[in-house]
Subunit: 330 residues, 2 copies
Protein backbone atom coordinates (compact mmCIF):
# COMPACT_ATOMS: atom_id res chain seq x y z
CA UNK A 1 0.00 0.00 0.00
CA UNK A 2 1.12 3.54 -0.76
CA UNK A 3 -0.01 6.55 1.27
CA UNK A 4 0.56 10.27 1.10
CA UNK A 5 -0.74 13.48 2.65
CA UNK A 6 -2.57 16.12 0.69
CA UNK A 7 -1.95 19.76 1.54
CA UNK A 8 -5.28 21.22 2.68
CA UNK A 9 -3.71 24.16 4.48
CA UNK A 10 -3.81 22.39 7.86
CA UNK A 11 -0.69 21.30 9.72
CA UNK A 12 -1.37 17.57 9.37
CA UNK A 13 -2.98 17.60 5.90
CA UNK A 14 -5.38 14.87 4.74
CA UNK A 15 -4.60 11.23 4.09
CA UNK A 16 -4.68 9.98 0.48
CA UNK A 17 -4.00 6.61 -1.11
CA UNK A 18 -1.55 6.62 -4.04
CA UNK A 19 -1.66 4.15 -6.91
CA UNK A 20 1.26 1.73 -7.18
CA UNK A 21 2.50 3.46 -10.36
CA UNK A 22 2.32 6.91 -8.71
CA UNK A 23 -0.09 8.12 -11.39
CA UNK A 24 -3.21 8.68 -9.30
CA UNK A 25 -4.42 9.44 -5.82
CA UNK A 26 -7.71 8.87 -4.03
CA UNK A 27 -8.84 10.72 -0.92
CA UNK A 28 -8.87 8.49 2.14
CA UNK A 29 -9.77 10.91 4.91
CA UNK A 30 -13.28 9.42 5.05
CA UNK A 31 -11.58 6.27 6.41
CA UNK A 32 -9.12 8.07 8.66
CA UNK A 33 -8.18 11.75 8.60
CA UNK A 34 -4.40 11.79 8.83
CA UNK A 35 -1.43 9.48 8.61
CA UNK A 36 -0.79 9.90 12.33
CA UNK A 37 -4.33 8.74 13.08
CA UNK A 38 -3.89 5.85 10.65
CA UNK A 39 -0.75 4.64 12.41
CA UNK A 40 -2.49 4.89 15.80
CA UNK A 41 -5.37 2.76 14.52
CA UNK A 42 -3.52 0.64 11.98
CA UNK A 43 -5.22 -2.69 12.60
CA UNK A 44 -8.69 -1.20 12.26
CA UNK A 45 -8.11 1.15 9.31
CA UNK A 46 -5.49 -0.56 7.17
CA UNK A 47 -7.86 -3.18 5.65
CA UNK A 48 -10.15 -0.47 4.26
CA UNK A 49 -7.21 1.65 3.11
CA UNK A 50 -5.82 -1.40 1.37
CA UNK A 51 -9.15 -2.07 -0.37
CA UNK A 52 -9.15 1.46 -1.72
CA UNK A 53 -5.54 1.05 -2.80
CA UNK A 54 -6.43 -2.11 -4.73
CA UNK A 55 -9.46 -0.43 -6.31
CA UNK A 56 -7.27 2.51 -7.33
CA UNK A 57 -4.67 0.19 -8.88
CA UNK A 58 -7.41 -1.74 -10.72
CA UNK A 59 -9.08 1.45 -12.03
CA UNK A 60 -12.17 0.55 -10.00
CA UNK A 61 -12.18 3.68 -7.84
CA UNK A 62 -14.38 6.45 -9.27
CA UNK A 63 -13.03 9.59 -7.57
CA UNK A 64 -9.51 9.60 -8.91
CA UNK A 65 -7.19 12.61 -9.06
CA UNK A 66 -3.84 12.86 -10.81
CA UNK A 67 -0.76 12.39 -8.61
CA UNK A 68 0.92 15.78 -8.19
CA UNK A 69 3.70 15.81 -5.62
CA UNK A 70 3.49 19.61 -5.45
CA UNK A 71 0.09 19.31 -3.80
CA UNK A 72 1.40 16.91 -1.17
CA UNK A 73 3.11 17.45 2.16
CA UNK A 74 5.60 15.12 3.77
CA UNK A 75 3.67 11.86 4.33
CA UNK A 76 3.87 12.60 8.05
CA UNK A 77 4.01 16.41 8.12
CA UNK A 78 5.08 16.40 11.76
CA UNK A 79 6.13 13.55 14.04
CA UNK A 80 5.67 13.11 17.78
CA UNK A 81 9.13 11.63 17.71
CA UNK A 82 11.90 11.72 15.12
CA UNK A 83 14.90 9.56 15.92
CA UNK A 84 17.67 9.50 13.37
CA UNK A 85 20.22 6.72 13.49
CA UNK A 86 23.61 6.66 11.86
CA UNK A 87 23.51 3.03 10.83
CA UNK A 88 25.80 3.14 7.80
CA UNK A 89 29.19 2.95 9.47
CA UNK A 90 31.03 4.18 6.37
CA UNK A 91 29.24 7.51 6.78
CA UNK A 92 30.48 7.86 10.34
CA UNK A 93 34.02 6.95 9.35
CA UNK A 94 34.07 9.56 6.60
CA UNK A 95 32.51 12.23 8.83
CA UNK A 96 35.24 11.57 11.39
CA UNK A 97 37.81 12.11 8.66
CA UNK A 98 36.03 15.24 7.44
CA UNK A 99 35.66 16.79 10.90
CA UNK A 100 38.91 15.36 12.26
CA UNK A 101 36.97 13.69 15.08
CA UNK A 102 38.14 10.75 17.16
CA UNK A 103 36.43 7.42 16.39
CA UNK A 104 33.35 6.77 18.55
CA UNK A 105 33.94 3.93 20.97
CA UNK A 106 31.68 0.92 20.50
CA UNK A 107 30.18 2.23 17.24
CA UNK A 108 29.97 -1.34 15.93
CA UNK A 109 28.10 -2.59 19.01
CA UNK A 110 25.73 0.29 19.85
CA UNK A 111 23.88 2.27 17.18
CA UNK A 112 24.48 5.99 17.02
CA UNK A 113 21.24 7.93 17.14
CA UNK A 114 20.10 11.49 17.73
CA UNK A 115 16.72 12.90 18.64
CA UNK A 116 15.69 15.26 15.84
CA UNK A 117 13.06 17.95 15.48
CA UNK A 118 9.85 16.55 14.03
CA UNK A 119 7.58 19.57 14.42
CA UNK A 120 7.94 20.94 10.90
CA UNK A 121 8.93 18.51 8.15
CA UNK A 122 9.32 19.95 4.66
CA UNK A 123 7.28 18.77 1.68
CA UNK A 124 9.08 17.03 -1.23
CA UNK A 125 9.19 20.20 -3.33
CA UNK A 126 9.62 22.79 -0.59
CA UNK A 127 12.56 25.14 -0.88
CA UNK A 128 15.61 24.38 1.21
CA UNK A 129 16.20 27.56 3.24
CA UNK A 130 19.73 28.98 2.98
CA UNK A 131 20.96 31.56 5.51
CA UNK A 132 24.59 32.15 4.58
CA UNK A 133 27.58 30.37 3.09
CA UNK A 134 29.24 29.94 6.47
CA UNK A 135 26.51 27.49 7.61
CA UNK A 136 27.79 24.76 5.26
CA UNK A 137 24.35 23.72 3.99
CA UNK A 138 24.27 20.04 3.08
CA UNK A 139 21.80 17.28 2.20
CA UNK A 140 21.73 13.72 3.54
CA UNK A 141 19.89 10.97 1.67
CA UNK A 142 18.25 8.48 4.01
CA UNK A 143 15.50 5.94 4.50
CA UNK A 144 13.21 5.86 7.54
CA UNK A 145 10.51 3.68 9.07
CA UNK A 146 7.32 4.66 10.83
CA UNK A 147 6.31 2.47 13.76
CA UNK A 148 3.19 1.88 15.82
CA UNK A 149 3.37 1.51 19.61
CA UNK A 150 6.63 -0.24 20.57
CA UNK A 151 6.82 -1.61 24.13
CA UNK A 152 9.82 -0.87 26.32
CA UNK A 153 12.49 -3.54 26.04
CA UNK A 154 11.31 -4.74 22.66
CA UNK A 155 13.93 -6.87 20.91
CA UNK A 156 15.34 -6.14 17.46
CA UNK A 157 13.43 -8.93 15.72
CA UNK A 158 10.11 -8.11 17.41
CA UNK A 159 10.72 -4.45 16.55
CA UNK A 160 10.55 -5.28 12.83
CA UNK A 161 6.88 -6.23 13.28
CA UNK A 162 6.12 -2.68 14.44
CA UNK A 163 7.28 -1.15 11.15
CA UNK A 164 4.17 -0.03 9.28
CA UNK A 165 5.61 2.24 6.59
CA UNK A 166 8.93 3.01 4.92
CA UNK A 167 9.89 6.52 3.85
CA UNK A 168 12.71 8.32 2.07
CA UNK A 169 14.12 11.62 3.28
CA UNK A 170 16.61 14.43 3.01
CA UNK A 171 18.07 15.16 6.43
CA UNK A 172 19.12 18.75 5.76
CA UNK A 173 22.22 19.66 7.76
CA UNK A 174 24.25 22.76 8.58
CA UNK A 175 27.78 21.41 8.89
CA UNK A 176 29.27 24.46 10.57
CA UNK A 177 27.25 23.83 13.74
CA UNK A 178 27.89 20.11 14.08
CA UNK A 179 31.39 20.01 15.62
CA UNK A 180 30.49 22.42 18.43
CA UNK A 181 27.17 20.72 19.15
CA UNK A 182 28.78 17.28 19.16
CA UNK A 183 31.47 18.55 21.51
CA UNK A 184 28.84 19.58 24.06
CA UNK A 185 27.58 15.98 24.09
CA UNK A 186 23.99 17.27 23.93
CA UNK A 187 23.47 16.53 20.22
CA UNK A 188 22.16 18.61 17.36
CA UNK A 189 19.88 21.65 17.64
CA UNK A 190 21.17 24.29 15.22
CA UNK A 191 22.97 21.78 12.96
CA UNK A 192 19.76 20.01 11.98
CA UNK A 193 16.96 22.17 10.59
CA UNK A 194 13.81 20.47 9.31
CA UNK A 195 14.12 17.40 7.09
CA UNK A 196 12.18 16.95 3.84
CA UNK A 197 10.46 13.76 2.74
CA UNK A 198 9.66 11.99 -0.52
CA UNK A 199 5.90 12.23 -1.13
CA UNK A 200 4.91 8.59 -0.68
CA UNK A 201 5.13 6.30 2.35
CA UNK A 202 4.94 2.60 1.44
CA UNK A 203 4.18 -0.57 3.36
CA UNK A 204 7.16 -2.97 3.50
CA UNK A 205 5.48 -5.46 1.12
CA UNK A 206 5.70 -2.84 -1.68
CA UNK A 207 9.45 -3.36 -1.70
CA UNK A 208 9.14 -7.11 -2.36
CA UNK A 209 12.45 -8.81 -1.62
CA UNK A 210 14.18 -5.44 -1.56
CA UNK A 211 12.86 -5.32 2.03
CA UNK A 212 14.75 -8.02 3.88
CA UNK A 213 16.71 -8.35 7.11
CA UNK A 214 15.25 -5.01 8.21
CA UNK A 215 16.95 -3.05 5.44
CA UNK A 216 15.95 -1.33 2.18
CA UNK A 217 18.04 -3.15 -0.44
CA UNK A 218 17.80 -0.45 -3.08
CA UNK A 219 20.13 2.25 -4.35
CA UNK A 220 19.35 5.83 -3.43
CA UNK A 221 19.92 8.12 -6.41
CA UNK A 222 21.08 11.61 -5.54
CA UNK A 223 21.34 14.37 -8.12
CA UNK A 224 22.74 17.85 -7.66
CA UNK A 225 21.71 20.28 -10.38
CA UNK A 226 20.70 17.37 -12.60
CA UNK A 227 24.00 15.51 -12.26
CA UNK A 228 24.11 12.24 -10.37
CA UNK A 229 26.41 12.50 -7.35
CA UNK A 230 25.36 9.43 -5.40
CA UNK A 231 23.97 5.95 -5.87
CA UNK A 232 24.75 4.19 -2.64
CA UNK A 233 23.05 0.95 -1.58
CA UNK A 234 20.53 0.92 1.27
CA UNK A 235 21.35 -2.73 1.89
CA UNK A 236 24.76 -1.78 3.27
CA UNK A 237 23.17 -0.55 6.47
CA UNK A 238 25.19 -2.09 9.32
CA UNK A 239 22.51 -1.98 12.03
CA UNK A 240 19.06 -2.84 10.64
CA UNK A 241 15.93 -0.87 11.44
CA UNK A 242 14.84 -3.40 14.08
CA UNK A 243 18.10 -2.82 15.91
CA UNK A 244 17.65 0.95 15.74
CA UNK A 245 14.12 0.71 17.14
CA UNK A 246 15.22 -1.68 19.90
CA UNK A 247 18.04 0.70 20.83
CA UNK A 248 15.59 3.58 21.26
CA UNK A 249 13.05 1.42 23.12
CA UNK A 250 15.53 -0.03 25.59
CA UNK A 251 14.60 2.31 28.45
CA UNK A 252 11.12 3.49 27.40
CA UNK A 253 8.27 2.63 25.10
CA UNK A 254 7.93 4.47 21.78
CA UNK A 255 4.51 5.74 20.84
CA UNK A 256 2.78 5.33 17.47
CA UNK A 257 4.06 7.71 14.85
CA UNK A 258 7.68 7.53 15.96
CA UNK A 259 9.86 7.87 12.89
CA UNK A 260 13.27 6.18 12.89
CA UNK A 261 15.86 7.15 10.28
CA UNK A 262 18.75 5.12 8.86
CA UNK A 263 21.31 7.89 8.71
CA UNK A 264 23.07 8.84 5.48
CA UNK A 265 23.14 5.93 3.03
CA UNK A 266 26.80 5.05 2.54
CA UNK A 267 28.51 1.91 1.28
CA UNK A 268 31.99 0.63 0.55
CA UNK A 269 31.99 1.59 -3.14
CA UNK A 270 33.22 5.17 -3.30
CA UNK A 271 32.80 5.10 -7.10
CA UNK A 272 29.05 5.19 -6.41
CA UNK A 273 29.47 8.71 -5.01
CA UNK A 274 27.95 9.81 -1.73
CA UNK A 275 24.59 10.74 -0.22
CA UNK A 276 25.86 13.98 1.31
CA UNK A 277 28.39 16.67 0.43
CA UNK A 278 30.39 16.28 3.64
CA UNK A 279 31.32 12.73 2.64
CA UNK A 280 32.37 13.88 -0.82
CA UNK A 281 34.59 16.50 0.79
CA UNK A 282 36.05 13.92 3.16
CA UNK A 283 36.94 11.64 0.22
CA UNK A 284 38.45 14.60 -1.62
CA UNK A 285 40.54 15.52 1.38
CA UNK A 286 41.93 12.00 1.44
CA UNK A 287 42.52 11.98 -2.32
CA UNK A 288 43.69 15.55 -2.94
CA UNK A 289 44.53 16.97 0.47
CA UNK A 290 41.65 19.45 0.25
CA UNK A 291 37.88 19.43 -0.15
CA UNK A 292 36.73 20.49 -3.62
CA UNK A 293 32.94 20.11 -3.63
CA UNK A 294 31.30 23.25 -2.21
CA UNK A 295 28.31 23.17 0.10
CA UNK A 296 24.92 24.20 -1.28
CA UNK A 297 24.35 27.73 -2.56
CA UNK A 298 21.10 29.53 -3.44
CA UNK A 299 19.68 28.46 -6.80
CA UNK A 300 21.00 24.90 -6.66
CA UNK A 301 18.75 21.86 -6.98
CA UNK A 302 18.80 18.59 -5.04
CA UNK A 303 16.93 15.50 -6.21
CA UNK A 304 16.69 12.18 -4.38
CA UNK A 305 14.84 9.08 -5.42
CA UNK A 306 15.02 5.36 -4.74
CA UNK A 307 13.17 3.29 -7.34
CA UNK A 308 12.63 -0.45 -7.56
CA UNK A 309 15.34 -2.59 -9.18
CA UNK A 310 13.12 -2.50 -12.27
CA UNK A 311 13.24 1.30 -12.25
CA UNK A 312 9.62 1.71 -11.17
CA UNK A 313 8.65 4.54 -8.82
CA UNK A 314 8.31 3.75 -5.14
CA UNK A 315 8.47 6.75 -2.78
CA UNK A 316 8.43 9.41 -5.50
CA UNK A 317 11.17 12.01 -5.62
CA UNK A 318 12.40 14.74 -3.34
CA UNK A 319 13.19 17.70 -5.58
CA UNK A 320 14.13 20.91 -3.85
CA UNK A 321 15.71 24.20 -4.73
CA UNK A 322 18.00 26.04 -2.35
CA UNK A 323 16.56 29.49 -1.70
CA UNK A 324 17.89 32.35 0.40
CA UNK A 325 15.58 32.45 3.41
CA UNK A 326 13.80 35.66 4.26
CA UNK A 327 15.16 37.74 7.05
CA UNK A 328 13.27 37.52 10.28
CA UNK A 329 10.78 40.34 10.66
CA UNK A 330 8.11 40.76 13.27
CA UNK B 1 -5.35 31.44 33.27
CA UNK B 2 -4.76 27.85 34.35
CA UNK B 3 -5.26 24.90 32.02
CA UNK B 4 -5.00 21.15 32.34
CA UNK B 5 -5.81 18.01 30.39
CA UNK B 6 -8.38 15.49 31.53
CA UNK B 7 -7.68 11.81 30.92
CA UNK B 8 -10.45 10.54 28.64
CA UNK B 9 -8.51 7.48 27.50
CA UNK B 10 -7.27 9.23 24.34
CA UNK B 11 -3.63 10.13 23.73
CA UNK B 12 -4.20 13.89 23.86
CA UNK B 13 -6.94 14.00 26.52
CA UNK B 14 -9.45 16.85 26.75
CA UNK B 15 -8.77 20.46 27.68
CA UNK B 16 -10.07 21.74 31.01
CA UNK B 17 -9.84 25.08 32.78
CA UNK B 18 -8.61 24.97 36.39
CA UNK B 19 -9.63 27.48 39.07
CA UNK B 20 -6.87 29.72 40.41
CA UNK B 21 -6.96 27.97 43.79
CA UNK B 22 -6.73 24.51 42.15
CA UNK B 23 -10.02 23.47 43.78
CA UNK B 24 -12.19 23.05 40.69
CA UNK B 25 -12.09 22.34 36.99
CA UNK B 26 -14.49 23.06 34.15
CA UNK B 27 -14.49 21.25 30.81
CA UNK B 28 -13.30 23.44 27.97
CA UNK B 29 -13.26 21.05 25.04
CA UNK B 30 -16.38 22.72 23.64
CA UNK B 31 -14.14 25.75 23.04
CA UNK B 32 -11.14 23.80 21.80
CA UNK B 33 -10.48 20.07 22.16
CA UNK B 34 -6.90 19.82 23.32
CA UNK B 35 -4.08 21.97 24.63
CA UNK B 36 -2.16 21.49 21.37
CA UNK B 37 -5.13 22.83 19.42
CA UNK B 38 -5.44 25.71 21.87
CA UNK B 39 -1.82 26.73 21.38
CA UNK B 40 -2.21 26.55 17.59
CA UNK B 41 -5.23 28.86 17.77
CA UNK B 42 -4.32 30.88 20.82
CA UNK B 43 -5.50 34.29 19.67
CA UNK B 44 -8.93 33.00 18.71
CA UNK B 45 -9.59 30.64 21.64
CA UNK B 46 -7.82 32.24 24.61
CA UNK B 47 -10.44 35.00 25.19
CA UNK B 48 -13.22 32.44 25.62
CA UNK B 49 -11.01 30.17 27.73
CA UNK B 50 -10.19 33.14 29.89
CA UNK B 51 -13.88 34.01 30.31
CA UNK B 52 -14.56 30.51 31.55
CA UNK B 53 -11.56 30.74 33.85
CA UNK B 54 -12.92 33.96 35.37
CA UNK B 55 -16.42 32.47 35.70
CA UNK B 56 -14.90 29.41 37.44
CA UNK B 57 -12.92 31.61 39.85
CA UNK B 58 -16.04 33.71 40.60
CA UNK B 59 -18.24 30.64 41.18
CA UNK B 60 -20.34 31.67 38.18
CA UNK B 61 -19.71 28.53 36.11
CA UNK B 62 -22.44 25.89 36.64
CA UNK B 63 -20.74 22.66 35.49
CA UNK B 64 -17.93 22.48 38.02
CA UNK B 65 -16.03 19.36 38.97
CA UNK B 66 -13.54 18.94 41.82
CA UNK B 67 -9.86 19.21 40.89
CA UNK B 68 -8.33 15.73 41.08
CA UNK B 69 -4.80 15.52 39.68
CA UNK B 70 -5.15 11.74 39.41
CA UNK B 71 -7.70 12.20 36.65
CA UNK B 72 -5.39 14.50 34.69
CA UNK B 73 -2.62 13.82 32.20
CA UNK B 74 0.41 16.00 31.62
CA UNK B 75 -1.03 19.36 30.45
CA UNK B 76 0.48 18.58 27.03
CA UNK B 77 0.42 14.76 27.00
CA UNK B 78 2.74 14.68 23.99
CA UNK B 79 4.70 17.46 22.27
CA UNK B 80 5.65 17.87 18.62
CA UNK B 81 8.92 19.16 19.95
CA UNK B 82 10.55 18.94 23.36
CA UNK B 83 13.75 20.92 23.75
CA UNK B 84 15.42 20.87 27.12
CA UNK B 85 18.00 23.49 27.94
CA UNK B 86 20.55 23.40 30.71
CA UNK B 87 20.29 27.03 31.67
CA UNK B 88 21.30 26.84 35.33
CA UNK B 89 25.06 26.82 35.00
CA UNK B 90 25.59 25.52 38.54
CA UNK B 91 23.90 22.29 37.49
CA UNK B 92 26.33 21.85 34.61
CA UNK B 93 29.32 22.57 36.82
CA UNK B 94 28.21 20.00 39.38
CA UNK B 95 27.44 17.40 36.71
CA UNK B 96 30.94 17.87 35.32
CA UNK B 97 32.31 17.24 38.79
CA UNK B 98 30.05 14.21 39.26
CA UNK B 99 30.87 12.65 35.89
CA UNK B 100 34.46 13.89 35.80
CA UNK B 101 33.75 15.63 32.48
CA UNK B 102 35.78 18.48 30.99
CA UNK B 103 34.08 21.91 31.11
CA UNK B 104 32.03 22.70 27.99
CA UNK B 105 33.62 25.47 25.98
CA UNK B 106 31.50 28.61 25.64
CA UNK B 107 28.87 27.40 28.12
CA UNK B 108 28.38 31.00 29.29
CA UNK B 109 27.81 32.31 25.77
CA UNK B 110 25.76 29.56 24.09
CA UNK B 111 22.97 27.71 25.89
CA UNK B 112 23.26 23.96 26.22
CA UNK B 113 20.18 22.20 24.91
CA UNK B 114 19.15 18.70 23.91
CA UNK B 115 16.25 17.49 21.83
CA UNK B 116 14.15 15.20 24.03
CA UNK B 117 11.42 12.66 23.39
CA UNK B 118 7.99 14.24 23.58
CA UNK B 119 5.84 11.34 22.38
CA UNK B 120 4.85 10.00 25.78
CA UNK B 121 4.89 12.39 28.72
CA UNK B 122 3.92 10.97 32.10
CA UNK B 123 1.01 12.29 34.15
CA UNK B 124 1.71 13.97 37.52
CA UNK B 125 0.88 10.82 39.49
CA UNK B 126 2.13 8.18 37.06
CA UNK B 127 4.64 5.67 38.38
CA UNK B 128 8.28 6.26 37.54
CA UNK B 129 9.39 3.03 35.84
CA UNK B 130 12.50 1.41 37.36
CA UNK B 131 14.41 -1.26 35.40
CA UNK B 132 17.42 -2.03 37.58
CA UNK B 133 19.77 -0.40 40.07
CA UNK B 134 22.56 -0.10 37.51
CA UNK B 135 20.58 2.48 35.51
CA UNK B 136 21.06 5.16 38.18
CA UNK B 137 17.45 6.40 38.14
CA UNK B 138 17.24 10.09 38.99
CA UNK B 139 14.77 12.98 38.94
CA UNK B 140 15.40 16.53 37.70
CA UNK B 141 13.15 19.39 38.82
CA UNK B 142 12.62 21.95 36.06
CA UNK B 143 10.38 24.65 34.62
CA UNK B 144 9.35 24.81 30.97
CA UNK B 145 7.51 27.12 28.59
CA UNK B 146 5.13 26.28 25.78
CA UNK B 147 5.37 28.51 22.70
CA UNK B 148 3.25 29.24 19.66
CA UNK B 149 4.82 29.58 16.18
CA UNK B 150 8.28 31.10 16.49
CA UNK B 151 9.84 32.44 13.27
CA UNK B 152 13.38 31.51 12.30
CA UNK B 153 15.90 34.03 13.56
CA UNK B 154 13.64 35.34 16.30
CA UNK B 155 15.57 37.33 18.90
CA UNK B 156 15.59 36.56 22.62
CA UNK B 157 13.33 39.47 23.58
CA UNK B 158 10.81 38.82 20.79
CA UNK B 159 10.86 35.14 21.78
CA UNK B 160 9.40 36.01 25.18
CA UNK B 161 6.20 37.16 23.45
CA UNK B 162 5.72 33.64 22.06
CA UNK B 163 5.53 32.08 25.52
CA UNK B 164 1.89 31.16 26.14
CA UNK B 165 2.14 28.84 29.13
CA UNK B 166 4.57 27.91 31.89
CA UNK B 167 4.88 24.36 33.21
CA UNK B 168 6.76 22.44 35.87
CA UNK B 169 8.33 19.05 35.22
CA UNK B 170 10.40 16.11 36.35
CA UNK B 171 12.95 15.26 33.68
CA UNK B 172 13.50 11.63 34.64
CA UNK B 173 17.06 10.53 33.89
CA UNK B 174 19.06 7.32 33.83
CA UNK B 175 22.53 8.48 34.82
CA UNK B 176 24.38 5.33 33.77
CA UNK B 177 23.67 6.02 30.09
CA UNK B 178 24.60 9.71 30.05
CA UNK B 179 28.41 9.60 29.88
CA UNK B 180 28.47 7.22 26.90
CA UNK B 181 25.73 9.08 25.05
CA UNK B 182 27.42 12.42 25.66
CA UNK B 183 30.71 10.99 24.44
CA UNK B 184 29.13 10.08 21.10
CA UNK B 185 28.16 13.74 20.65
CA UNK B 186 24.69 12.66 19.48
CA UNK B 187 22.91 13.46 22.74
CA UNK B 188 20.54 11.49 24.91
CA UNK B 189 18.35 8.57 23.81
CA UNK B 190 18.53 5.89 26.51
CA UNK B 191 19.53 8.32 29.29
CA UNK B 192 16.28 10.27 29.06
CA UNK B 193 13.05 8.28 29.32
CA UNK B 194 9.74 10.16 29.38
CA UNK B 195 9.41 13.23 31.61
CA UNK B 196 6.44 13.83 33.92
CA UNK B 197 4.61 17.12 34.37
CA UNK B 198 2.79 18.95 37.12
CA UNK B 199 -0.94 18.94 36.36
CA UNK B 200 -1.51 22.61 35.60
CA UNK B 201 -0.07 24.86 32.88
CA UNK B 202 -0.38 28.56 33.68
CA UNK B 203 -0.20 31.76 31.65
CA UNK B 204 2.75 34.00 32.63
CA UNK B 205 0.45 36.59 34.28
CA UNK B 206 -0.51 33.99 36.92
CA UNK B 207 3.02 34.32 38.31
CA UNK B 208 2.68 38.07 38.86
CA UNK B 209 6.11 39.58 39.37
CA UNK B 210 7.57 36.13 39.93
CA UNK B 211 7.65 36.04 36.10
CA UNK B 212 10.21 38.61 35.08
CA UNK B 213 13.23 38.80 32.78
CA UNK B 214 12.09 35.53 31.20
CA UNK B 215 12.55 33.52 34.38
CA UNK B 216 10.35 31.89 37.05
CA UNK B 217 11.44 33.62 40.25
CA UNK B 218 10.12 30.97 42.60
CA UNK B 219 11.68 28.17 44.60
CA UNK B 220 11.09 24.61 43.43
CA UNK B 221 10.41 22.33 46.38
CA UNK B 222 11.62 18.76 45.96
CA UNK B 223 10.77 16.01 48.43
CA UNK B 224 12.05 12.46 48.48
CA UNK B 225 9.98 10.13 50.62
CA UNK B 226 8.38 13.11 52.34
CA UNK B 227 11.69 14.77 53.24
CA UNK B 228 12.65 18.01 51.56
CA UNK B 229 15.86 17.59 49.57
CA UNK B 230 15.78 20.71 47.42
CA UNK B 231 14.49 24.26 47.36
CA UNK B 232 16.50 25.96 44.66
CA UNK B 233 15.47 29.26 43.09
CA UNK B 234 14.17 29.40 39.51
CA UNK B 235 15.35 32.99 39.27
CA UNK B 236 18.97 31.85 39.22
CA UNK B 237 18.58 30.67 35.63
CA UNK B 238 21.58 32.06 33.73
CA UNK B 239 20.06 32.08 30.24
CA UNK B 240 16.40 33.15 30.30
CA UNK B 241 13.68 31.33 28.39
CA UNK B 242 13.75 33.88 25.55
CA UNK B 243 17.42 33.12 25.02
CA UNK B 244 16.73 29.37 24.99
CA UNK B 245 13.96 29.79 22.41
CA UNK B 246 16.11 32.08 20.25
CA UNK B 247 18.93 29.55 20.39
CA UNK B 248 16.66 26.79 19.06
CA UNK B 249 15.09 29.07 16.43
CA UNK B 250 18.36 30.36 15.05
CA UNK B 251 18.42 28.05 12.03
CA UNK B 252 14.73 27.08 11.72
CA UNK B 253 11.30 28.13 12.85
CA UNK B 254 9.68 26.34 15.80
CA UNK B 255 6.08 25.27 15.43
CA UNK B 256 3.28 25.80 17.93
CA UNK B 257 3.38 23.37 20.81
CA UNK B 258 7.16 23.35 21.10
CA UNK B 259 8.06 22.92 24.75
CA UNK B 260 11.32 24.42 26.01
CA UNK B 261 12.74 23.34 29.36
CA UNK B 262 15.02 25.22 31.75
CA UNK B 263 17.20 22.32 32.80
CA UNK B 264 17.61 21.32 36.44
CA UNK B 265 16.94 24.23 38.77
CA UNK B 266 20.23 24.93 40.56
CA UNK B 267 21.54 27.98 42.38
CA UNK B 268 24.58 29.06 44.34
CA UNK B 269 23.20 28.15 47.78
CA UNK B 270 24.08 24.51 48.34
CA UNK B 271 22.32 24.64 51.72
CA UNK B 272 19.07 24.75 49.70
CA UNK B 273 19.76 21.21 48.52
CA UNK B 274 19.48 20.14 44.91
CA UNK B 275 16.84 19.38 42.28
CA UNK B 276 18.41 16.06 41.28
CA UNK B 277 20.29 13.25 42.99
CA UNK B 278 23.34 13.50 40.72
CA UNK B 279 24.05 17.00 42.02
CA UNK B 280 23.69 15.83 45.61
CA UNK B 281 26.20 13.09 44.88
CA UNK B 282 28.57 15.56 43.25
CA UNK B 283 28.45 17.81 46.33
CA UNK B 284 29.03 14.79 48.56
CA UNK B 285 32.02 13.74 46.52
CA UNK B 286 33.53 17.17 47.01
CA UNK B 287 32.72 17.20 50.73
CA UNK B 288 33.38 13.58 51.70
CA UNK B 289 35.33 12.08 48.80
CA UNK B 290 32.43 9.76 47.94
CA UNK B 291 28.78 10.01 46.95
CA UNK B 292 26.38 9.03 49.74
CA UNK B 293 22.87 9.61 48.39
CA UNK B 294 21.68 6.54 46.45
CA UNK B 295 19.75 6.76 43.20
CA UNK B 296 16.03 5.94 43.25
CA UNK B 297 14.85 2.47 44.20
CA UNK B 298 11.41 0.85 43.82
CA UNK B 299 8.93 2.04 46.44
CA UNK B 300 10.41 5.51 46.82
CA UNK B 301 8.36 8.67 46.36
CA UNK B 302 9.28 11.91 44.60
CA UNK B 303 7.30 15.12 45.04
CA UNK B 304 7.93 18.42 43.29
CA UNK B 305 5.99 21.64 43.61
CA UNK B 306 6.61 25.33 43.07
CA UNK B 307 4.05 27.52 44.84
CA UNK B 308 3.68 31.29 44.90
CA UNK B 309 5.73 33.30 47.43
CA UNK B 310 2.53 33.37 49.49
CA UNK B 311 2.45 29.56 49.48
CA UNK B 312 -0.56 29.33 47.16
CA UNK B 313 -0.77 26.54 44.58
CA UNK B 314 0.30 27.30 41.04
CA UNK B 315 1.15 24.27 38.87
CA UNK B 316 -0.03 21.65 41.35
CA UNK B 317 2.34 18.90 42.43
CA UNK B 318 4.17 16.08 40.73
CA UNK B 319 3.92 13.12 43.08
CA UNK B 320 5.25 9.85 41.77
CA UNK B 321 6.22 6.49 43.12
CA UNK B 322 9.12 4.49 41.72
CA UNK B 323 7.83 1.11 40.56
CA UNK B 324 9.68 -1.82 39.03
CA UNK B 325 8.60 -1.82 35.41
CA UNK B 326 7.09 -4.94 33.92
CA UNK B 327 9.27 -7.13 31.84
CA UNK B 328 8.72 -6.82 28.13
CA UNK B 329 6.42 -9.52 26.83
CA UNK B 330 4.84 -9.80 23.42
Amino acid sequence: MKLATRNNGERDGLLVVVSRNLQHIADADDIVGTLQQAIENWDSVSPELNERYQALNDNRWPAVQPFDARKLLAPLPRAWQWLDGSAFLRHGERMQQAFNLPPIEGAERTPLMYQGSGDDFLAPHDDIPWRNAADGLDFEGEFAVLVDDVPQGCGAQQALAHIRLILQLNDISLRAFAPREMKTGFGFIQAKPSSSFAPVAVTPDELGDAWRAGRVHLPLNIERNGVRVGRQEGGEMYFHFGELIAHAAMTRRLRSGTLVGSGTVAGADTAAGASCIAEMRALEMLAHGEPRTPFLQPGEWVRMEACTRQGLPLFGAIEQQVVKSDKFEE
